[in-house]
Subunit: 220 residues, 2 copies
DNA sequence: TAGATTGTTAATCGATTAACAATC
DNA sequence: TAGATTGTTAATCGATTAACAATC
């Protein structure tokens, strides 16, 4: 009866940020922290931090603040990072390979269990010890191995048909790096990473430099 | 006297999306389009589209809509994509290499003019015909070549010191892929691409599946 | 001209911030 | 207990949507 309030996407996007800062704090052996201290660390207002966290429960304690380890654990649970998610990469271009070589995912509960491509020259190779298979085998592989997440690192043209196969293979979510808006059933979340869009936004900020040459050195 | 209204970040983030769809429309030889048609294409409301565009000027025409090519050109100008931006990549790991190999940037006004690393084994190599140089030479190189954008693809530990060098070398903006919040002067925009955060958000949506098993097939 | 569709103002909605009583 | 800080309600701010007069 608690978990039914719809959490806004703005909040969801901040959760991984909280998580990262808390991870740092644990490394630095900080035991407790107040919303005010977190505020000056992260840059969100203390009020927002308390609001955000209270969407999920009262993790703090009046007069004390938040227990760093405890809060970290709670956020991990909220984010679903207390389990494992099997992933496959479809498309073995630069980005696909970069992700495959990023061994951290394997250690942190996101094992990449297979890679797929249509190029016969690449099929059969191993990248960071992950086998590259023929895309024709994708659907069967997904079902047999109960893969949770499909990563699309193909070009735009291929992306939608790959998405269709991922859906057919019953993945639970799609991490899409192709610059195309995929059509998939609403029940399957898609997270788009449109890297080049962020470069465009950067350039916008360079051109329309709001902050250029501030007279005051300012707050920080 | 016109360009002084502060454009919200929400709008800026949508501009590259408009741009992408318009690019497609040009390819498909579509000459004119109404905000309503754009709406059903992109998924934003027609009202929002008109509001967004009118932040920058009246690009449409009553009773007609928007000229696709004209609007595309306007958005390109707004985004500053009518000029060239020299970039360097600092950090030649998987991601740095992937970006270097992504030749599209070179063709589309974002030439990568140098790469930098601290690993002597890598210094001197060429990746996609881009020379890898010693990071000690970074500041001088930036100033001599009037580099516009610095891309940080190092690990977290090195990122801040790289950012300091980029600032010293007078880049105009920083594209940061390290999961760390950089401290730089306010006059230099930073665009963070925290890829793993988006994976975390995806997992959140998988776990808390709001849309799971909708009874209706629905709108689209 | 009549019809279509913009540009723009007003209304609504949602997210952020402020304030403070509850409580450790 | 007194002080600190949360949890939570209320106020504010900003962004989105609706509506419609202007106009091509």
């Amino acid at each position: 009866m608690k978990e039914k309030v719809k959490i806004s996407n703005a909040v969801v996007k901040r959760l991984p940020i909280y998580r990262r800062y808390l991870e740092e704090l644990i490394k630095d052996n900080v035991e407790r922290i107040s919303s005010n201290e977190l505020s000056s660390l992260i840059g969100f207002t203390a009020s927002q931090i308390r609001q955000d966290l209270n969407n999920f429960g009262g993790f703090g304690q009046q007069g004390y603040g938040y227990n760093v380890k405890g809060l970290y654990k709670e956020i991990n649970t909220i984010l679903g990072l207390d389990r494992e998610y099997k992933m496959v990469i479809v498309g073995t271009g630069n980005l696909g390979q970069a992700l495959a070589n990023y061994s951290k995912y394997h250690k942190e509960g996101f094992p990449i269990v297979g890679m797929f491509d249509i190029n016969p020259k690449i099929i059969g190779l191993r990248i960071n010890d992950i086998e590259v298979m023929d895309s024709d085998l994708l659907v069967d592989f997904l079902r047999e191995n109960h893969v949770d997440i499909g990563i699309i690192t193909t070009d735009r043209a291929a992306a939608q048909s790959v998405a269709d196969k991922l859906v057919e293979g019953r993945v639970r979510g799609i991490w899409n790096f192709a610059t195309v808006d995929l059509k998939v059933p609403k029940s399957i979340p898609v997270e788009n990473v449109h890297v080049t869009d962020t470069l465009n936004a950067l350039v916008y900020h360079i051109i329309h430099n709001d902050q250029a040459e501030m007279p005051e050195a300012g707050t920080e």
